[in-house]
Symmetry: D2
Subunit: 291 residues, 4 copies
């Protein structure tokens, strides 16, 4: 397909590689154009504006946050004004439920389609085309976007016709990750202060009841106190927790564990953790225990 | 070996089966003697008192809580007065760190040995000899207890020479379970109230980042709101959380996530959940969201 | 002075009465014009738009929330476009720190002045001119606004030259109120379930260490379970807590007690409390204790 | 009356002065006898054991915690074995509800009476006979103890015939204090980090809605960061919070705000606060905000 891709951070870059490998005719845009060099070298066309990446059947966005997506969509030379009638905006960013709903409405008014397709997976996974992709939107545009999604992901998980559902699922999934990290952080602080071998604890847990990727990734980072460079940056963790809480607030759903995680992230950021991984919740727990 | 087993609840019974299968010469004791019938039919000898189960090289205890273990150990006709010098008390119950330390001291004074060997696994797993066993204690008695532990477990995880270390690891592990259940409870409440398919969410999560036994067990219980009969009873969850918090308190380690879980368990018990599984934290989250 | 007043809810109406009593030449505006009748009968002039209330030296706004203040300020026929150069916008509403900062900037660009003057006190107190007013802004406009503030308040508490400081103080003060109510709610739930006389408890506390207006107001509402009609409506409590948390978030200040209160408010709203007073946190505590 | 007094810490000493001033025939006991010197110089008789202080109609105990009260009551030469039939044990210490219930039962079995009379007030207040005393117990012994209570307190607040009710009220009252301190701690941290004058905030609050002794005492300690020497020591705050939580747990009453305070106290103790006042919750809040 003729595909635009806006946002070439680590994740977007990886997705671009997968799209090229999938045989799509790819146009890429990034605010800092030099980040597009590697993809251009592999055959992508360079767009000079978001508008310029909107000439195909479908444009994928993968940007940092709500503000960035609002700018490329609603701003000057933006997607909304330039995407063809009937074409599809596939949003892969982790954004708020409220923005997903606004995008759904605005694109519909413009005769365009909006599909939410947030992803799980790190940059290497994106580059390998092995993401897990949560897709929600009207049946026809989702169906038409499927070749693109399948180029980027090992599996597409459908979440119905309301695009924001996929965003809420993504935020819930990230919240589950933060909760797992906080549980590890507290457990490991307790064991360490008690003089019990926390590595043995982690070895046992991640080979039995908690033998899941998320624990195998984060538990060793905490026991080794290896918080930089970030794989999942703490400020993004704080942001996503805020978005989950905002979703809960709009529905009157209290999320006390998310509130707890939020306060821990703020303490982390306040105490020098801007450049840390979310695993540094382990540092906060240790500090509060006087270690 | 010549082994005593005190405490024939669901778990103790299963462990008894594994001990018989392992070829040990087994004497069993339970306050309600009739619970011993099935094991006696398979060849176990019935003891009339804890003392009567202490005539061998080693006695295993698997009872409900600190109070029960104190009674069979320190009470009349108890283990402490009747175990031979040099013999071993293997405690498999989930008890407090403080009691484990007291038992270590008291058995040492009496010329006996104390080994902590709390377990992960449900009754069927115990009966199949497939428990995961956390063992801590002086090297020699742990070594001597190994044939018994190996009859009951698929794997023995060593945690050093201080018996209470294994208890702290067990409490930390249970806390991790409760934290995972609470995270699921909140996520699922949020998705359900938003009208998003929580079953699809669980399916995705437990097949990707959270593909671990604990999530595969508890997530469906929460989405199906299937809280009875309990596999892990809510009052035991409350008790174990209390023990983890007490361990933290004695070391000045704040555990805010454990505090949160404690308050949720209390709300559950206050609102009719005495007979529920710990998965019923899902009910508490839903009720607080007005569902 | 020649004063405009925008927003005639219960509070705004009371402030209008005090302004008339203070001898000011008052023009009033409210979206629903009929709410102005009583003040017009006492001598106020009725404005047909916010613009129409901006013809004097100073306009006071007292509206429900950020959105309402944004509309009357930045909307069509709004304050920003119509206030004279050198005139003053005095904002008495409980709004976000972020909006106060935006208003400060926008009014400065327009050659106007912005003074934040949020208030403590209920409608009767406003009508009696006995509010406590927190005032912040550049020295000259605050000085010029003083006759107006003094007509409405028993005391003006200065908080420096940055207008948003007064807003943060107001949000902090409201947070203190919610914290006091939550502490009462939990204490009273505990005593009630224990069968201890909670009225005697409240009588003792509010006549000794806690002999302050806030406890004398809220403690009896909770012991009598008298939650309607609201004096301070629960949805406003939820909103103000959100604004306090947002202020904390922007500065990386964790506020775990505010987070706790937020979740309690959401539970209250989720369970039928939209029409309740903030005292109904007492109901949430009681319900979670199974009463 | 012929009165014994056991426990001559700062509080007990002050109570002893008031008892002497009240004309009672006073016998005093303290583990470290030298602490009795000042009272002996004023006319008190020195007892060599708790038993020796039990020869009158009534013995007052004012000791540090449950363990200390258990020792002087149930230990060798203790109150239980030596108090005359019909005589009264008045317990003024802040102890657990569970111990108060045990004391009620044990004294009843011994033909003695138990009255709970925990107090609010600091050492100088005790010495001035101006305490607020919460009294609960059977009507007759409370009536007989009244002259003693009135010598020590400005007012006796009755809480019915079950002694432990007064203890629960005392724990609830202390929890209210800690909650107030935590609310101040978070507010002041927020304002300080925002660059807003926290002294002006405190001045305003403690002269308006929060014009109560507790806020006038603690708010300046926090704004001045004056945490030593302790008036109310942080370890005692942690202990009392634990007792409040234990009371809640036994009744299935979640107390999330008490849980939060507990975790803050643990963080304080873990980070060097053993010698601090409870006001040092302000330090914890500031540190978590990166100050």
């Amino acid at each position: 397909m003729k595909v635009g891709l806006i946002g070439l951070g680590l994740m977007g870059h990886g997705m671009g590689e997968s799209l090229l490998r999938g045989g799509h005719e790819l146009t890429v845009y990034n605010r800092t154009a030099s980040k597009a060099d590697a993809l251009v070298a592999k055959g992508a066309r360079l767009a000079k504006s978001p508008a310029d990446a909107c000439r195909g059947d479908l444009v994928v966005t993968m940007v940092a946050d709500d503000a960035a997506l609002e700018e490329v969509t609603f701003g000057a030379h933006g997607i909304l004004e330039n995407l063809s009638a009937g074409a599809i905006h596939v949003s892969a960013s982790t954004i708020s439920v409220a923005l997903a709903e606004r995008l759904t409405d605005e694109h519909a008014k413009a005769g365009q389609h909006f599909v939410s397709a947030p992803v799980f997976g790190r940059p290497q996974v994106a580059a390998a085309g092995q993401l897990n992709i949560l897709a929600a939107g009207a049946a026809d545009p989702v169906q038409r976007a499927m070749p693109v999604l399948e180029s980027m992901g090992q599996k597409v998980w459908p979440f119905g016709e309301r695009p924001s559902a996929a965003n809420l699922v993504k935020l819930s999934g990230n919240f589950m990750i933060f909760a797992a990290v906080e549980a590890l952080a507290e457990s490991i602080a307790l064991l360490r202060k008690a003089g019990v071998d926390e590595h043995a604890f982690v070895d046992m847990m991640t080979n039995t009841l908690f033998a899941a990727p998320i624990y195998k990734i984060y538990a060793p980072l905490i026991t080794k106190q290896q918080y930089r460079p970030p794989g999942f940056a703490a400020p993004l963790g704080a942001k996503d927790t805020r978005l989950a809480l905002a979703a809960g607030e709009s529905l009157n759903v209290p999320l006390p564990l998310a509130s707890l995680v939020r306060d821990k992230f703020l303490a982390l950021l306040a105490r020098g953790g801007e450049g840390d991984d979310i695993a540094a919740l382990g540092k906060v727990a240790a500090e509060q225990a006087g270690m």
